[in-house]
C-alpha cells in the first residue's frame, strides 16, 4: 500500500487521467507537475502521447525522474530535436496544433482567464510576475487547456485578472469566439481544494469535485467570485495505488513532487 499522495502527485494523477492517446502537447521549463502528468499518461492510456520541450525542442524524451525540459540531457532519449526557429511557427501561430497545454498562474478568474504578468497596474505593479512567454499562444491556440494551481485563495481566484495574458472564456458566453479565437479555452482548473470546470453556456467556473476533507464553504471563502455549485459535487477520486506506484517508480523516482509540493 503506497503512502498518501502529496499535493503535487495528486494534481499530476488527476491531469494524467484526462489525456488521450496520440494527443500533442508542449511542456515549459519549470513544469514538474505538467511533466509528471504527461509521463504518467504515457505509462497508462496514452503511450503515444507526443510532447515537445518548449525551450529545447526535444520530442518524447524518456527519463524516470523529473528533469527540466530545458535540460540538454533530454536529448539522449528524444525522438527528434527541433530548433526554436522551426518550432515557433506551430507554437506561436498555428491553430490547434497542440491538443492541450497545462498552465500555472498568479491569478485565474471566473471565466478562466489567466495572469502571470502583474498584480495591480502593469506600470507600477503590487507584484511583478515573470511574464507571458508562451501562455498567450497556448491559451489562444490549443484545443483546450488546464490551469493547475498549488494554492487556492482569494488572491489567486479573482473576479477578473489584473492583466489578461492567457485568454480563457474572456467575458464568458460566446465572447471568446466573438473575439475571433479558435474553439477551445480552459477545460479544468485544479487546486488543492478541488477540480473546477465551466458552465456550458455562461462559461462561469463551477465546482466539479471537491478534495477529500474540504467543504464547499472553504471553497467559497477562498474564492473571490461567486463560483457555481450545482447540487452536491462529488469528492475527487484520489490517486489509486497503481497510479501512485507507476508515478513513483517510473516517472518521479527522485520524489521531486513530494519534496516540492507536499
Amino acid at each position: 500500500m503506497a503512502a498518501n499522495p502529496s499535493l503535487g502527485e495528486t494534481l499530476a494523477v488527476l491531469l494524467a487521467r484526462d489525456i488521450a492517446d496520440g494527443e500533442k502537447v508542449i511542456i515549459g521549463t519549470n513544469s514538474d507537475i505538467q511533466l509528471a502528468a504527461c509521463n504518467l499518461a504515457r505509462r497508462l492510456q496514452a503511450p503515444r502521447l507526443w510532447w515537445i520541450s518548449g525551450p529545447g525542442g526535444m520530442v518524447n524524451p524518456t527519463r524516470d525522474h523529473l528533469l527540466s525540459t530545458a535540460d540538454y540531457e533530454n536529448l539522449e532519449s528524444a525522438e527528434s530535436w527541433m530548433d526554436l526557429p522551426v518550432m515557433i511557427d506551430f507554437i506561436d501561430w498555428k491553430i490547434h496544433f497542440f491538443d492541450f497545454a497545462i498552465l500555472s498562474a498568479l491569478q485565474v478568474d471566473r471565466f478562466g482567464n489567466i495572469n502571470t504578468v502583474v498584480v495591480g497596474d502593469q506600470r507600477k505593479p503590487r507584484v511583478r510576475g515573470p511574464g507571458t512567454v508562451g501562455i498567450s499562444a497556448l491559451c489562444g491556440l490549443a484545443k483546450r487547456f488546464y490551469v493547475c494551481l498549488t494554492r487556492h485563495d482569494r488572491s489567486a481566484f479573482v473576479p477578473r485578472v489584473d492583466f489578461l495574458c492567457g485568454a480563457g472564456h474572456m467575458e464568458g458566453g460566446d465572447s471568446r469566439e466573438r473575439m475571433g479565437l479558435p474553439p477551445g479555452g480552459p477545460r479544468l482548473v485544479l487546486s488543492p481544494l478541488g477540480v473546477f470546470d465551466f458552465v456550458p453556456d455562461s462559461k462561469v467556473m463551477r465546482v466539479r469535485s471537491i478534495s477529500p476533507g474540504v467543504t464547499l464553504e472553504q471553497i467559497r471563502d477562498s474564492t473571490a467570485f461567486d463560483i457555481v455549485v450545482e447540487g452536491m459535487p462529488p469528492v475527487t477520486t484520489m490517486p489509486t495505488d497503481h497510479e501512485l506506484a507507476l508515478l513513483r517508480e517510473h516517472v518521479d523516482r527522485r520524489g521531486d513532487l513530494r519534496r516540492k509540493f507536499p
Partner: protein
C-alpha cells in the same frame, strides 16, 4: 589572412555605448552570458535597453547594478528560487520601464528584424499586452472571414550577448545543447558577441557541423570564457550553481548586501579572479554528472 575574431571579454564590451539596445541569449538558468554581463557592469554601462530571451540573473543583475533604463520582458524569473529580485523591485517602484511581450511578439519581432521588415503579422490572442506596449503591437486590417491579426514591431538589437559551449577562431559557434532563441537573436542583431567555454579547431567544428547554430558569417566577436555562464548552466559542460543563485537572491535583499555582492564577484574581479573566488572545488562539483542532478 582574415584575422581571428577572438577578443578579451573587456574588449568585447568596450564599444557598447550607453543607451544601446542589448539583447541577451540563453534560457532562464541555461547559458546566460554572465561573463559578458559582468564585464558590462564593470565598464559602468548606463541606460541600456534590454531585450532578454527568457532569462534570470543576466537581466536581473544588469538591472540591479543600475545599468538599465528599460527592458523587454518575455519571461524573467528565478523559478524555484522565486521572482527576479531587482527586476521585481524596480518594476514595482516604477523606476524600470517594462515592455511585456509574449512569445509571438518576440518571435515575430525577431523574425521581422532578421528579415528587414517593419513588422510581422501575428494572431490577435485577446490579451492585455497591446494595451501596455502599443509601440510593439498594433492592429492589422484583415478581410472578413480572415483571422484577426496584430502587427508586432521588428526587434533589432544594437548588439547581443550570447553564451555557447565552443567556437573556432573564425567565429563558427556551436551549441552542444538547445540554442533556444540565440540563432534568431544573432541574425536580428547588428553586432553579435559570443562567449564560449572553449576554443576548438575548425576540424572539430566540422566533425559535428549540425551543431554550428551560428556560422562565422553571423558572429562579430568571440570571447573565450571558461565557466562563462556561471552561475547558470552551460549544456553538457556544467550545471547551474544553485547555492550561488540562492546567495544572489539573498544578497539582493538590500542595497548594502547587493553592493557587497557586486564588489566581491563583479566590480573588482577579472574573469580569472571570479573563478578563484567561486573556488575550484565548487566549479568541479558543477560538472554534468548523474550524481549531481538536483
Amino acid at each position: 589572412m582574415t584575422k581571428s575574431k577572438i577578443v578579451s571579454v573587456d574588449e568585447a564590451v568596450a564599444e557598447i555605448p550607453d543607451g544601446a539596445k542589448v539583447a541577451l541569449g540563453g534560457w532562464i538558468f541555461n547559458s546566460q552570458p554572465m561573463a559578458l554581463v559582468r564585464a558590462l557592469i564593470r565598464k559602468g554601462a548606463r541606460d541600456l535597453h534590454l531585450i532578454p530571451a527568457p532569462g534570470s540573473i543576466a537581466p536581473d543583475m544588469l538591472i540591479g547594478a543600475g545599468c538599465v533604463a528599460s527592458t523587454v520582458c518575455v519571461f524573467i524569473s528565478f523559478e524555484q528560487f522565486g521572482l527576479a529580485p531587482h527586476f521585481r523591485r524596480q518594476s514595482e517602484n516604477g523606476t524600470l520601464k517594462v515592455y511585456d511581450l509574449d512569445g509571438p511578439a518576440i518571435a515575430g519581432g525577431l523574425r521581422a528584424g532578421i528579415c528587414d521588415l517593419p513588422y510581422m503579422p501575428v494572431p490577435d490572442l485577446g490579451t492585455d499586452l497591446p494595451k501596455f506596449a502599443p509601440e510593439h503591437y498594433w492592429p492589422l486590417p484583415s478581410k472578413p472571414g480572415d483571422r484577426r491579426m496584430l502587427a508586432v514591431a521588428a526587434v533589432k538589437p544594437d548588439v547581443c550577448l550570447l553564451h555557447a559551449q565552443q567556437a573556432d577562431e573564425h567565429g563558427n559557434v556551436q551549441h552542444l545543447g538547445p540554442p533556444f532563441f540565440d540563432a534568431m537573436i544573432a541574425q536580428a542583431s547588428r553586432r553579435v558577441i559570443v562567449s564560449v567555454d572553449r576554443i576548438v579547431s575548425t576540424d572539430t567544428i566540422r566533425r559535428s557541423n549540425h551543431l554550428t547554430k551560428l556560422p562565422s558569417a553571423m558572429v562579430d566577436a568571440v570571447v573565450e570564457a571558461p565557466f562563462g555562464a556561471h552561475p547558470t548552466a552551460s549544456p553538457s559542460l556544467y550545471r547551474s550553481d544553485e547555492a550561488h543563485l540562492k546567495d544572489y537572491v539573498r544578497s539582493s535583499a538590500s542595497a548594502e548586501t547587493f553592493g557587497a555582492y557586486l564588489d566581491r564577484y563583479v566590480r573588482g574581479a577579472t574573469s580569472c579572479a571570479y573563478l578563484d573566488t567561486i573556488g575550484g572545488s565548487r566549479l568541479a562539483a558543477l560538472a554534468v554528472s548523474e550524481t549531481n542532478l538536483k
